[in-house]
Amino acid sequence: MARIIVVTSGKGGVGKTTTSAAFAMGLAERGHRTVVIDFDVGLRNLDLVMGCERRVVFDFVNVIQGEARLGQALIKDKRNPKLFILAASQTRDKDALSVEGVGKVLEELAQDFDYIVCDSPAGIEKGATLAMYFADDAIVVTNPEVSSVRDSDRMIGILSSKSRRAEQNLEPINERLLVTRYSPERVARGEMLSLEDVREILALDLLGVIPESGSVLNASNSGVPVILDQESNAGQAYSDMVDRYLGGELPHRFITPEKKGLLGRLFGG
């Protein structure tokens, strides 16, 4: 039985697609058959971040509407044979998705995969609500910044009231917090909300902290999930997050300012 995970946030640009790509690759690297689905119909980007944009022939909407079989639309990752991508349509709009259609595709995927990662679009409209509707687990991606925290709180409310699990009175979605673009230096200077602040406001268990890092842009520039850049702090933090999701107990890293020498402190850098 597959586990369905939604990566969501409410606000755009906080790192949902970066996280979906890294998380799915991390699961596959640990031997799990994983598929990652782009729910952002009309504004697809997951294929670009995963580096398979030129191999999209059929997409999620084609499958829902019976224009292609699932096997034709699934794109096999070139780096990891256990990882598949289902792209969103770039030409249709979000009304092409329906609860029945999405449910049917997920059911079929559940036969073959261990994990189904749903990359939610921003906002609280159809694409976003359908991405989370069937979820067993949710990763709420939040930047330590007022508008992102507020939108995440709104999303948490929707997750607990408008999902399949909520409607059928099942065990609620397991929601966990991922703080991204965290800058311990700025937190130390009192310029940025701290992890404790964000956790206190959102009252969610912390799945991981991804530090602000130039390697995220580098990775998306080259179409490589940042988790494959194990030289970088962000890549390592995503690895930790995947291990924690799978039940490992790891301390959070990259949450305190990097120590500078005396000269560094005096002259900056």
């Binding site: 507020r150 709180d153 009192g190 909300l193 602040d197």
Partner: protein
């Protein structure tokens, strides 16, 4: 510059605490939702009754529902004109 920053920081408490304070209020308000759907009608009815006795402005009355623990408090605020 870094040396200067070091001294400046001591006095600068940063904006993060303000962000937290604003968020806590906002999130509590968001979670409470828009309140019962009868509120606007209740506000109009109350205004009519009060206007029988005192000439108040239409916007001088506010009706809100506040949540405290598991209690709901209906808060009614009417500003009477100066005599």
């Amino acid at each position: 510059m870094a040396l200067l920053d070091f001294f400046k920081q001591k006095r600068n408490t940063g904006s993060a605490s303000l962000a937290k304070e604003r968020l806590q209020i906002l999130v509590a308000h968001d979670r409470a939702g828009p309140g019962p759907s009868y509120l606007p009608q209740l506000q109009r009815d109350l205004l009519q009754v009060i206007r029988k006795y005192v000439a108040v402005d239409p916007d001088a009355i506010s009706v809100q529902v506040e949540h405290e623990g598991n209690q709901e408090i209906l808060e009614l605020n009417i500003v009477l004109p100066e005599a």
